[in-house]
Every structure is written in structure tokens, then in C-alpha cells.
Symmetry: C2
């Protein structure tokens, strides 16, 4: 089994209502990252349409079907480069609209995720809540779990995906000012408590009075930050992670004297209140 | 309803196998804290017996019944001072032995908690796992949830108690070297994600080759550290917290534009895997 995977986190500044321009940029940055050896390239939440829409109607023309023309172009680029891409977009499915992310690889669309926890903020105010459980997608470069921005506030999101066997949690975000603590330590806690790698990719720039705070991070399964971006510039982060490191949940500090297992030591029979 | 509560966190260095000496110290530090206006005084995990025992048999003579002579003396002190105390001890109940903590107030013993998550470390290697769900204890100075050390690694512990209405989570610990990330950011995440206050009280000193790392903290319901102790000295921390701050889960950053509720925005119907 392969062990090392090189990840790129593309912190960018999408332009609202300019999907075509944003898609071109995503395609070119994916090529850039692949040239530097990245195998998984992650973009922010709503990297295609932007985020601060003022109504559902206003956002509607900037939503995608999945699969659709945008994911087809992403799939062609993944095939050409031999990489996997995760990016955020707005998805329309009949009358329903979701804040979503897609996972695409050299063989095409692998999966999509619809944001389950919606803050009352930006376009999320006008969307439908995700209607499907968290999933984990098996790929040749590891098992990926996808969640989006506010999902990370809820420890249940990462926990469910870790229990389903995720090696790497992907977190496209649009953290605005006021969410600095999530960037500072909550994302590290999610990696640490589940012993999984985590890639948090935020946007930068300002949209209709909302300023985003960058601070994208690639964090390993010990909770250590391997790479971190600044607060206001577009930037690509790179880091290599080890799949076996995320899969070995039993940690031996000193044999027979100090050992821990953050998954096996759980007491699920005591946690029923969480799912009520 | 009263709103402000003054908390004291007593970071101390208990001596192994010297329950009587440790109890005297707890009683005198409680008086000291009460003199400084504290209403809730919290001591470390295993503050009465110490922690690094090498067998169940060795630890047995240093276990307490609850209620018992030690809790009776604590209750007398609480009555005299008008304070609430939480301290860690080892509890024997017939043939069973637990790493436990007691909550005692002016009216006597209010509750006890038996550590549910046991690391393979120190005396925990030889004890029985807690046999009861997490609870919340209503008192005139707030609703307290108690957990111990390694419990905090599992987001489920704090989450269950927050859902049961805890205002203040009390966390007696014995963090040894190697647990610095829990002290550095995991405890802040627990407070932040549940919007509850958290008092983490560690010990200092060395016991049979295991060095403990202090860093006790009082953290408010925004995840901010109000007071933090050093790594190797005995010390009392004080901070005042607001009960209404912990009870107001709905946060309005900008009315109609940016609002969040870390409890109401949950999706428990998607969390079943956690309780399996």
C-alpha cells in the first residue's frame, strides 16, 4: 500500500458571480500544484460562485448541477494531471439548493457532500441543509472525508468520518472575521482527537463587507500544523502526510506503562444523548 | 438568579500514599480560596491518594468509600466555609475500584463521578471503568458537569454534559508529559464548541518517574483562557464566570446577517454512528 500523499491547499480569493473566471483559476492552480507534486488539491468553500449572496434567487444562476459542465471540466483536468481535486460550489438539484463540495479524481466524479450544518450567514441563510449522512470515499491515495466550514464546529462531523475510516479530512471553508478560534485551535483539535490528517482551506479577500481570514492549514494526525497560510494573500500550501500514521490509532508512549487509543478507548454505550 | 460565580483552581502536588496529609492540604487550601471569595474550589485528579501506583493491591489501602470519612471531613469544611468543592480520589465500592471525583457543597455530598475513559497509565491500568452515564448536578451556584483527565480527549464527554444543561465543566486531571496539546488547545475547544465554562485543574511534581505538567486553566464559554498556571509550581488560579453567558447558546454577531447556535444548529439525526 502507498503511504505518503502530497497535499496542496489553494487559498484563493474567488470573485462573486464569476464562476467561469473562478473555474479557470481553479484549473490553472490545480496544474500549478500538480507540477509541484501534489496528488490531492483542495480549494475553498464556494470557490466557484462566491459566498455573500443576498437571496436564494440571486444565487440561483451561479449554482451547478453535479455532475454538470463545471465538474466535467474539473474531471478532464484531473485525468490530464492524474490528481484528485476537492472544491466547494453551490449545487442545485431540482428545487433544492445546497452548499456542496465535490471530490473528483482521474476517473471522474467520485463523490459530493452537502453541508449539513448551516450558520445564519451569507448564502447559507437561503439554502437547504444537507440531506445525507457524512461519508468516507476510498481512493487510491487514501480515504477522504469531506465537511465544510461550520461543520467543523460540531465535533460530531469529524468523529463520524473518523469512525467510518477517514485518513484525511478535507475542510473547504469561508471563515469570516469572528471565526479565528476555529482556525487557531479547533481544527487542530479535530485532527488530534480523531488521529486523522486535516486540510482546512479558507478563502481570502472581502465580499460585500465580509472579510475572510485565510489561515488555511494542513494538520497531521498528531494535531501538528505542517503548513499554515497568511491572513490576506492568495497562497498554495504543500505538505506530505502518511496514511499509516492516521490508521495506527493505538499509540504506545512507553510499552506496558503508557498507551492510549483514542478510538478503542471510547465508550459509545454512554453517548446516546448525542444522537437524540 | 445569581449570575457571577468565582472559581478557584488549586494546582497542587499530592504525595502518593499520603491521603491524610493531602486531605489536610485540600482543607487548608479550600479555606485559603474561600477567604479570597471563591465559591467553587477545584482540586486535581487523585488529589487524595496520588496516581502512579504499580498495582491494584498497592492502591487499595488508599481508596475511599463515598460517602466516607474523607468526604465527611470535606463536607464539614464546605459547610463551615459555604463553598462547593470538587476533588479527585480513588473510590472502592465492594470489589470494584474507580478513579472518581466528588462534588460536595454546604449541604453535604451532592454527587460523584467515576472516570469513564481510562488510559493505560498509572493507577488507571488497574481500575474498573466508570459504570454510569455523565451527569449534570444542579446547585445554587450553577449546573456542574464533572469529567476527569482523559475523558476530555473524547468530545462526547463534554458534549453529553452540555446537552444535559451544564454551565461549568469541571476537569480534575493528572496530565503527564506527552499531554501538552490537551492542555494547550483541546480544553479550549471543549469550552468553545459547547459554549460552557471549563475548569481544568492539573497537578505538578513528579511521582515514580512520571512528571506532571501543570498548566491548569479556567476557560470561559467563548473558549478564552481567563487564568492559566505554570508548569511546575503549586498555585491557586481565580476567575469569575457568568452563568448566563454559558446559557445563551444563540450568538448574534450581526442581526439578520450573522447568527449561530452551536447547540440548536446540530444535526443529531446524522450522528447515530457515534453511539453505536
Amino acid at each position: 500500500m502507498r503511504d505518503k500523499v502530497k497535499i496542496a491547499a489553494v487559498q484563493m480569493n474567488p470573485a462573486i458571480m464569476q464562476n467561469s473566471k473562478n473555474l479557470d483559476k481553479i484549473l490553472s492552480e490545480a496544474k500549478n500544484a500538480a507540477t509541484n507534486g501534489a496528488e490531492l488539491v483542495v480549494f475553498p468553500e464556494c470557490a466557484l460562485p462566491g459566498y455573500v449572496y443576498s437571496s436564494r434567487e440571486e444565487a440561483m444562476p451561479f449554482m451547478e448541477t453535479v455532475p454538470g459542465p463545471a465538474t466535467d471540466r474539473l474531471a478532464a483536468r484531473c485525468r490530464e494531471l492524474g490528481v484528485h481535486i476537492v472544491t466547494g460550489l453551490l449545487e442545485k438539484d431540482g428545487n433544492r439548493c445546497f452548499n456542496a463540495a465535490v471530490l473528483i479524481g482521474p476517473e471522474g466524479l467520485i463523490g459530493k457532500y452537502r453541508k449539513n450544518h448551516l450558520p445564519f450567514l451569507g448564502v447559507d441563510r437561503f439554502l437547504d441543509r444537507g440531506d445525507r449522512p457524512f461519508e468516507v470515499h476510498k481512493t487510491p491515495i487514501g480515504n477522504f472525508g469531506i465537511h465544510i466550514c461550520y461543520d467543523c464546529n460540531f465535533p460530531e462531523s469529524a468523529r463520524v468520518m473518523a469512525l467510518l475510516g477517514a485518513d484525511i479530512l478535507v475542510l473547504p471553508t469561508n471563515w469570516p472575521q469572528g471565526r479565528g478560534k476555529v482556525a487557531k485551535y479547533v481544527v487542530n483539535t479535530r485532527a488530534y482527537e480523531n488521529k486523522v490528517h486535516l486540510v482546512a482551506v479558507n478563502r481570502v479577500g472581502e465580499e460585500r463587507g465580509t472579510r475572510f481570514i485565510g489561515t488555511s492549514k494542513i494538520i497531521n494526525a498528531w494535531g501538528d500544523t505542517l503548513a499554515q497560510a497568511g491572513v490576506d494573500e492568495e497562497q498554495i500550501l504543500y505538505a506530505e502526510v502518511s496514511l499509516s500514521e492516521a490508521r495506527q490509532k493505538h499509540v504506545v508512549f512507553k510499552p506496558g506503562e503508557f498507551e492510549m487509543d483514542f478510538i478503542r478507548d471510547r465508550r459509545p454505550e454512554l453517548y446516546g444523548k448525542i444522537a437524540e
